[in-house]
Symmetry: C2
Subunit: 694 residues, 2 copies
């Protein structure tokens, strides 16, 4: 039993009134859910979650994910009441320039916010990633402790809405959560039956409980609309004790995630707005706010009214948090003492540092005109890194062998009972299997990164980056160190045809701010790319070839370490490759080889030709102007970009005199060599473009 | 009972052998599923579906969707056996340049292919759209006929794989299919437990039957692995009669879609390959193909062996199809006679023509410095078009009021029992409710367009075009006349913050080939944009503002009909706007007003400034060079693009001397006016850029 006092009840009502006031003051926002979920959020922050407002980064804290991010006030008000640093002025500044209380919660912006949410389904799906990461981290640090007894055991709590459950990405992630037996995950599904088009019956009549049972979840129904509690309003009683019982049960060690389907009335208890669609996304209006205040015994003339006693009471959670933290510290210190090496690892992970000399483990590939696919090189690099960078882990959306995402010798992250003939592993394994669920994979990778200790990656075909674009954007927006491994990066993949051939994907991913797109030209560039991605700790995407690419001879060409600067002169003009160029060929990935072949012909025609390999435009743009001018001297106007995709984005580098060898239409089904030839990716075509440019 | 003769059995085995041979010959492809699903596909084409190989466009035909598009041979072989025009040479040319048998089925490329599939989940989700369109079309043409007795009644049949069911988009669409009570939809789910990572147990252990029951589907299990038929192989018997019974039952008029979960063994009966992951996506090898042939009584030394009697037998389906077509014609003719006006409508729809003078219905908006949001203008335009263009219909992914996608006076497309207080309608209604399922919406719109008679549209926020990008790409690839209504098209949307503010979306959508992105500047451009989109019958996306935009005075500025050419001179240089410009400001959408304001300042500073409104780059690029040069004279190098998004894609138009007023980072939570100011979208900033450019 929660055993709430009158002060607790008053605090919950205060949360409702603050939410209504904040939206009313700003003039827009989402009051309804913040009002009806106030008791739920209060229960979590005051009675259920293990957290310490004084240390939002505490390793032992539970995680809270507000998947219905539009209801940001649900969380902001609790952060205020709990003493995370938000004050009334912050609530008054809701949704205004520079405030700590933006429209949707933003991680790294407001203390106590674990994740940026808003796009529906994303928070819930990323929470699955957090729960997976918790298990993996525990497995790395403290595998032998009993369930619930490790300092690295914590629980992930989610508030989700109808909209979260309609989005396909939540189906993907929740199916996987059931499969992975994530007993450390509890989702409170706020079944208020209201979305922007009002009654959800207009589009959503599935049986959510049955659906989650199908996924292997425990499902508990708590219905506040039908309580017989004589003390409550006849048709609605916020039965906190039933909810608390469900939550407490769900946190016990077990093999199933829990969905608590909580039937609520949106905007409860606002007398006219409750249960209406309008209460979802609009200010209630002065009259309705006043009426609500009267109903709850607040002064309708005052705004942002908080009784001193209420705040003093709610902020006692800081003491409880401190005590819990102190208690945890005992176990943590004992663990450190007993596990000095692992503790050193943990310190490194917390600091976000890589192992010293990790890059020495990288394979070096011999020059080879036949070469290997960059996806294959990536696989070898990952296997090498896997041995020295234990925080690195990942997998594929059912394309492990195609994406070369499996690190050699690493077992699968899978309940022991679900191993297959092909894949052996256990709950603490390292190879992830996402199934054919790209967006779910992306969101899960984000959640893993947000847990904070490991470096996750996930693979699929580049064309299917489209499926996971919402997750990629959120990774970039949150500046998460997630690496997307996208193979089969052009028409070079061949016979699978236009549905599988990326044409516009590299350009359209480059358009995403804060995302580094890296398209290495050969095996050694691939190794350098991985190392640089790990060093930078930013969101990165790798575009890797299906087909073999020659391994460039680095005795006659520049070293692959140029990758670190995003672009470098691979070979310069003249017979010996050391003369100032008349024309510059700028190429990425598989087209670097093509540019080199074109350069041969141009040199034969006595055109001094520089080839620039440009695996990552974003890294190049970070370089000092002086380096940029060295690679692309402003006086050399004759320039040709060579990339097997749309030319969008290349004109700024090639300029008015330049030409783009590009592909402005969808692909076709035939072998890759034929497609390159038929679509104009030949040395002759590059030579012609270079001559046109001169 | 199917009552198959020995010839039928031989034909099925022929299909298996042809599939194995075709992949073996090409050296790559997907033989396994084509082999194990051969009896299923044969049953559909020979015994179940209403179709006429001589007329693949027959209005009365059932639709077949191969959602597991990688198994294209499943369909190609049946098209060959049924006599759709494919011959053995086409099968031999599998996955080669220019063939009729590309890696994945492509609509408009191979006769008898209804839809391009390959990206998993997409076919199944679009099939839901076909089933919805069938109901709507029947409602438009023949609403009073009894169930199953209209010429416009037909059934949609889908073959789907494990992968289709893992993808979130199938969850979205199938939940909606149950909600919509689509009794005209049958999905055969090939539960072979194999995907690329081998046994699907590694990532997929949900109870699919329970999940579909939760969606409101009928679920039938047919397990060929456990038959006790003494005539069959002990552990596997292809019990065609059970399958047929399930299919026949599912086609009876009813209120539930049907999922037939068919447990199969992939690559059956190949002696070593069956049931293995390798059989999914690799050629079986000569030895295994030979062994399979021996097992089935084929000459292992021959390839592409088809008994003359088999082909003669299977092609009798043409006769049956012709007879069914003739029978149907009777009812169809009677319908035409009884409904001459509707028949005229149908003829127009089949011809793909718009009503004459439809554009006269478009509203004209008076000049107004306050103006209205282009989303609001779009709503008014749609309402006007709705009255004269009956084939136009659409809705929103739960944002009807925000997207302004509801045509005035049109009822909802919804089972009568599922109307809500807010939305009234019935099974033949016209307003679609997709729920918060953007990708599902997109795929459904594609399916509606593929059915062929109507013009669908669907709305969400522009930033969530990311969620539906796979569907948008497939629409463009298939050249479907679908219109995506994307509102809240920039930081101008304000307080919802960076998760909701599109920055890179317009550019990244422009990168998709065959997609027209249209961003009108005011209400009148919005009207012209809609009309032009309808005329062109291509895939189009509209980017519309949340905030009010001034309605430009067309007596002092050029007419909005310039929209049809994609870009036009809105006003030229000089005090009277008729002098040759020194600088050109190129703007789209809400930034056109900003460009006009900047022009005022530039003219005051005696800089002759032309403003070009460029709502659609794709349409502009189609214009003759002479028109393009008139709008953007090559001699005027001083150019500034003004668009509240990334500059990617603008450098080719503004050139080396040009400048871009753009946004290269994510947005923030504040009111729109503040964001424009803080992020440099001011007349002063545009003036500065113009002066820099001069």
């Amino acid at each position: 039993k929660a055993g709430w006092s009158d002060l607790d009840v008053r605090a919950v009502d205060t949360a409702r009134v603050l939410a209504a006031d904040a939206v009313q003051r700003t003039g827009n926002g989402h009051p309804g859910t913040a009002m009806s979920l106030a008791p739920v959020a209060y229960l979590l922050y005051q009675n259920v979650m293990r957290h310490d407002p004084a240390d939002p980064a505490w390793l032992g804290r539970d995680r809270f994910v507000l998947s219905c991010g539009h209801s940001s006030l649900t969380q902001y008000v609790q952060l205020y009441l709990s003493g995370y640093g938000l004050e009334l002025d912050d609530l008054k500044a809701l949704r205004t320039w520079g405030s700590l209380t933006p429209g949707h919660p933003e991680v790294h912006h407001t203390k106590g916010i674990e994740i940026t949410t808003g796009p529906l389904g994303s928070g819930l799906a990323s929470a699955v990633g957090m729960a997976m990461a918790q298990r993996r981290q525990r497995g790395m640090l403290d595998p032998d402790a009993k369930a619930g007894e490790s300092p690295f055991d914590h629980h992930v709590w989610v508030l989700a809405s109808d909209g979260d459950l309609m989005e396909g990405v939540s189906s993907e992630a929740c199916s996987l959560a059931g499969h992975q037996e994530l007993g450390n995950l509890t989702v409170v599904y706020d079944a208020n039956q209201i979305s922007i088009e009002d009654d959800t019956d207009i589009s959503f009549s599935e049986d959510v409980a049955l659906r989650f049972q199908a996924y292997g979840w425990d499902v508990v129904d708590v219905d506040w609309r039908q309580s017989n509690d004589p003390a409550g309003t006849p048709d609605y009683t916020e039965d906190i004790d039933s909810l608390l019982a469900a939550l407490e049960k769900s946190r016990r060690p077990g093999k199933r995630p829990t969905l608590v389907r909580l039937h609520t009335v949106i905007a409860w208890p606002a007398p006219s707005a409750r249960g209406t669609g309008k209460a979802h996304g609009s200010a209630l209006g002065d009259a309705e706010v006043a009426a609500t205040k009267e109903l709850l015994g607040f002064d309708p003339k005052k705004t942002f009214q908080v009784d001193r006693a209420v705040l003093a009471h709610t902020r006692e959670v800081k003491k409880r948090g401190k005590a819990a933290h102190r208690e945890w510290d005992k176990g943590y210190k004992a663990w450190r003492k007993g596990n000095p090496e692992t503790a050193a690892l943990l310190d490194r992970l917390v600091a976000g540092e890589l192992p010293k000399d990790f890059a020495k483990a990288l394979p070096v590939f011999e020059a080879d005109p036949k070469g290997i696919a960059t996806r294959a090189a990536s696989g070898k690099v990952l296997s090498a890194l896997g041995r020295v960078v234990p925080e690195l882990w990942g997998g594929s959306a059912d394309l492990a062998e195609s994406n070369n995402t499996t690190m050699e010798g690493q077992s699968s992250f899978i309940p022991t009972s679900k191993q297959t003939a092909e894949w052996k592993g256990g709950p603490y394994g390292r190879t992830l299997h996402f199934g054919i669920r790209e967006n779910g994979m992306g969101m899960i990778l984000n959640g893993i990164a947000l847990e904070g200790l490991t470096r996750p990656y996930g693979g699929t075909f580049l064309v299917f980056s489209d499926y996971m674009r919402p997750a990629v954007r959120l990774a970039a927006l949150q500046q998460l160190p997630v690496t997307f491994v996208w193979t089969h990066d052009s028409i070079g993949l061949g016979e699978d045809g236009p549905t599988h051939q990326p044409v516009e994907q590299v350009a359209s991913l480059r358009a995403i701010p804060q995302l580094d797109m890296v398209r290495p030209a050969d095996a050694n560039e691939t190794a350098e790319a991985w190392a640089e991605i790990l060093r930078r700790r930013r969101t990165a995407g790798l575009a890797l070839s299906r087909q073999a690419l020659p391994t460039i001879d680095r005795t006659t060409h520049a070293k692959a370490s140029g990758v670190r600067k995003g672009a470098y002169v691979l070979v310069d003009g003249g017979r010996n490759g050391d003369e100032a160029p008349e024309v510059i060929l700028i190429a990425t990935g598989s087209e670097v080889t093509l540019a080199l072949a074109a350069r041969e012909k141009l040199e034969q025609a006595r055109v001094r030709t520089r080839v620039v390999s440009m695996p990552c435009r974003e890294w190049f743009e970070e370089q000092p102007r002086s380096y940029q001018s060295k690679v692309l001297p402003p006086e050399v106007k004759a320039r040709v970009s060579v990339e097997a995709g749309v030319s969008m984005g290349w004109h700024d580098l090639v300029g008015d005199a330049g030409r783009c060898v590009s592909l402005e239409h969808f692909g076709a089904s035939a072998d890759g060599a034929t497609l390159f030839r038929e679509f104009g990716f030949t040395p002759e075509a590059v030579v012609k473009a270079a001559k046109d440019s001169l």
